[in-house]
């Protein structure tokens, strides 16, 4: 290339570079990612339509907005814009007389795991906007919102409300004081549109505390367990395990078949311990379980009960058909793949598995849920439930609106909706039989309800959580064969964390 050509092209490129920077500076900071919905409230000329009776009227009456509260019929709300043009939007629900008018902004961070959960959220958000037409709602919804918005949380410019998920380390945020303390709000707030207290609607035993404070009010209840293929079990004469002894027996049969017993994503080892180890610890009683979770007294990790559970894990790992070979290094999708290919009899996963895998189950595969864990035959079958809810940012600019959104979510319609969408159980007292659930989920709920339910009410510290996963992986891998070694590692980390 001639030298002059090179110089010209270089200068052109540099010019382009700087013009790009000029463009970037003109773009406002709140340009939103395309995966979000932007819905603007009623102060524009667009009218949002709802499902039921349309009753919009335009009027040029300046002045204050009037709201007609009507418990039985439809309501119209008028809003004013400074330019003198008035637009009205109608609500589809009856508004309680006590609901105040909201205005301002609200930014939501919603993690969805890729199935059609966003349908639920979009419906919920649309309804919220209909009820509060003066609120400008920005929704960031998708699988990557956690990573995408992480730096904003760090810089002190977070969205107002978030539901956790991958990419957002909720525990670390909690520890750094990024979440609003909801203790008082949880006890005093009412459900939207009624005078029923949220605190009365939820199951109080399901609330999770961090340092004695509440940072998220429970809505859904997640449980883990071992999933299996009923057809495969039938074909190969395997008995569905119900407890630890059954698992040990199954391991021998699996070895004969040449497959592994349990598979789980080693890279996110939490699936293993929530599914198998925690229930066994919970079987020793709620207080003991709380102590383990909070890790406030490191000596609990050297206690006889804890050692007993760890020893069971070591023994199961020591059997050739106990855990699938290589399970320690695979990720979530790989573990599903191994399981669907019948290279492992059981997979340890959460209750969202069915909704996640809806479209990918091969013909003839009957996915079922078993609550077998390291709980022994002589103990009561135990399952651990975790309450999930939304977090409000402490540095958010619209905390009031965020709290209102929370109140809105506790209406029956949405409590049931979220169960249907995710396949979760509920942490509230809503009548679960009203939800349209799949057979698998219904069976799962029935099974869980018949067991000894222990709620997780203490948040685990993230450094401890990490070490726990590592220790479990090391045991499954066979690197740790001595129970004292495992317990000492956990004891040391818990001690270090006390500082």
């Amino acid at each position: 290339m001639k030298n002059w050509m090179k110089v010209i092209s270089v200068s052109l490129a540099v010019l382009m570079l700087f013009s790009m920077s000029g463009c970037d500076m003109l773009v406002q900071k709140d340009e939103t990612p395309r995966t979000s919905i932007i819905e603007v409230g009623g102060d524009s000329t667009t009218t949002t339509t709802g499902a039921d009776d349309p009753a919009t009227e335009d009027s040029d009456v300046p002045g204050d907005t009037t709201t007609k509260g009507d418990v039985t019929g439809t309501t119209t709300t008028k809003g004013n814009t400074p330019g003198g043009k008035t637009t009205t939007t109608k609500t589809t629900k009856a508004q309680s007389k006590t609901e105040k008018k909201l205005s301002g902004n609200l930014e939501l961070q919603i993690f969805v795991n890729g199935s059609d959960n966003n349908v639920f959220w979009e419906g919920l958000i649309n309804d919220f906007e209909d009820a509060n037409p003066d609120v400008k709602v920005i929704t960031r919804i998708g699988t990557n919102v956690g990573t995408q918005l992480a730096t904003r949380w760090m810089q002190g410019n977070p969205p107002d409300i978030a539901n956790g998920g991958t990419g957002m380390d909720a525990t670390a945020y909690m520890e750094s004081g990024l979440f609003e303390d909801l203790t008082d709000f949880a006890k005093t707030a009412t459900v939207y549109g009624s005078s029923e207290k949220i605190w009365d609607k939820i199951k109080p035993e399901s609330v999770e505390y961090f340092n004695g404070k509440i940072y998220h009010i429970p809505n859904t209840a997640t449980n883990y367990g071992l999933w299996y293929d009923a057809a495969y079990f039938k074909k190969n004469g395997l008995t569905v395990p119900k407890n630890y002894e059954d698992l040990m027996a199954l391991a021998d049969k699996c070895q004969k078949l040449g497959i592994g017993g349990v598979a789980y994503p080693g890279t996110s080892g939490a699936y293993l311990y929530w599914g198998m180890i925690m229930p066994a610890l919970a079987a020793y009683g709620k207080d003991f379980f709380d102590q383990v979770c909070s890790a406030k007294d490191p000596s609990v990790f050297k206690s006889a009960n804890f050692k007993a559970v760890m020893q069971r894990l070591i023994d199961l790992a020591g059997k050739n058909g106990g855990f699938m070979k290589g399970t320690v290094a695979i990720n979530h999708t790989q573990s599903q793949m191994q399981w669907l290919n019948h290279r492992a009899a059981l997979m340890s996963c959460g209750s969202w598995l069915e909704s996640e895998m809806k479209t990918n189950i091969p013909l003839g595969f009957e996915m079922r849920y078993s609550t077998a864990s390291l709980v022994t035959k002589s103990q009561k079958p135990t399952v651990v439930l975790m309450g999930g809810g939304m977090y409000i940012a402490a540095k958010g600019k619209n905390k009031e609106n965020a709290k209102e959104f929370l109140r809105f979510m506790y209406q029956d319609k949405y409590l049931l909706g979220i169960m249907e969408s995710y396949g979760y159980m509920t942490a509230t007292k809503v009548d679960a039989s009203k939800a349209k659930l799949t057979t698998t989920t219904k069976e799962m709920i029935k099974t869980v309800n018949s067991m000894n339910v222990v709620w997780k009410t203490q948040t685990m510290k993230s450094t401890f959580d990490n070490e726990f996963r590592n220790v479990n992986n090391a045991i499954v891998l066979g690197n740790i064969k001595n129970v004292d070694e495992a317990c000492n590692r956990l004891y040391d980390v818990a001690k270090k964390n006390l500082k």
Partner: protein
């Protein structure tokens, strides 16, 4: 000998002669701004990094607690840090050897073996491909190839009948480091091969012919003609591999094993990253680790260069 140039730079009189106006202009427009910008994006964050390493800071809130050297003491007392350092050294050691060997092998083969032009260009194209792929793309591919049991690696070995004799290998579990080293070498070879090929092509054929006539076999030709001629490129390659290893290692290890089963494949870059940019945020601690890393990297590179420079003068 140098002839004295008119009005411009005098080569042998003063040590730092006065530069011509034209040269000064060049310096001020191009060189000085570059230097300033570079310092701005490199030195300033570096200094800040060192400053933060003396504090405890979560990165989320503005409160920072002064700790003195406590972060450094903690890190040096953490066995995991040493483990990651050792892992890094292992990877770099094998990487240097394997990459250099393969690059020289292929470069020599492609320039000196009787291949048709088409074949030659096809090979060059193919071998460069790993370098044009993003690490996200090929780490995914390799993870699935090493999938336990149903992956390609196991499938091939099973088809070859090897699994009748040896038990099924848990690639990522039992051989984590070798798999990582393999993938890292796989993606590094391409670009260095290009420069090596070009410098080998610059060696004149007559040298080889003369040596052949003198009875030197292929090996001696390689060692005494080829290698010395490409020594600068070779040295550049080795130093670059060393310096870029920290980032390069982490880019492969993070997506593939995230530190490996129970920290088996933890590398220093990942160790620092875990505390800094992800989850348990202790930015001060992570920066202290970064500073230590830099000192280690410095020391190594320095040693490397000194050793290699001595070699060159021999």
């Amino acid at each position: 000998m140098q002839t004295a140039s008119v009005g411009a730079v005098q080569q042998k009189t003063r040590k730092y002669p006065k530069l011509s106006a034209s040269k000064k202009w060049f310096l001020w427009i191009f060189v000085i701004p570059t230097l300033l910008l570079f310092s701005f994006v490199t030195i300033v964050p570096l200094v800040e990094s060192i400053y933060i390493s003396f504090f405890e800071w979560s990165g989320y809130t503005p409160d920072m607690k002064f700790l003195g050297f406590q972060n450094y003491i903690d890190i040096l007392g953490d066995p995991l840090f040493y483990k990651s350092a050792i892992n890094d050294f292992i990877i770099i050691f094998f990487k240097e050897i394997i990459v250099c060997a393969i690059v020289i092998l292929f470069a020599v083969t492609l320039t000196r073996l009787k291949l048709t032009k088409v074949e030659n260009s096809i090979y060059r194209f193919i071998f460069y491909i790993p370098n044009i792929l993003s690490s996200i793309v090929f780490t995914q591919l390799w993870v699935y190839i090493f999938n336990p049991g149903i992956g390609l690696a196991d499938g091939l070995l099973r088809a070859a009948g090897l699994y009748d004799w040896i038990p099924e290998q848990g690639w990522m579990v039992e051989h984590t480091m070798p798999v990582l080293i393999w993938v890292i070498c796989w993606c590094t070879v391409g670009s260095f091969m290009i420069v090596m090929i070009s410098s080998i092509n610059n060696i004149s054929e007559e040298t080889y012919e003369a040596a052949e006539i003198d009875g030197a076999n292929q090996w001696r030709q390689l060692v005494h003609i080829t290698l010395p001629a490409v020594w600068t490129q070779l040295r550049y390659m080795m130093v670059t591999i060393l310096c870029s290893s920290l980032a390069a290692n982490m880019n492969i290890v993070l997506p593939m094993t995230n530190g490996g089963p129970d920290n088996a494949s933890m590398v220093m870059g990942l160790y620092v990253y875990q505390f800094g940019l992800s989850g348990a945020s202790e930015v001060g601690y992570s920066n202290a680790g970064a500073v230590l890393l830099m000192i280690i990297a410095f020391g190594l590179s320095f040693l490397f260069n000194v050793v290699l420079l001595r070699r060159e003068e021999k």
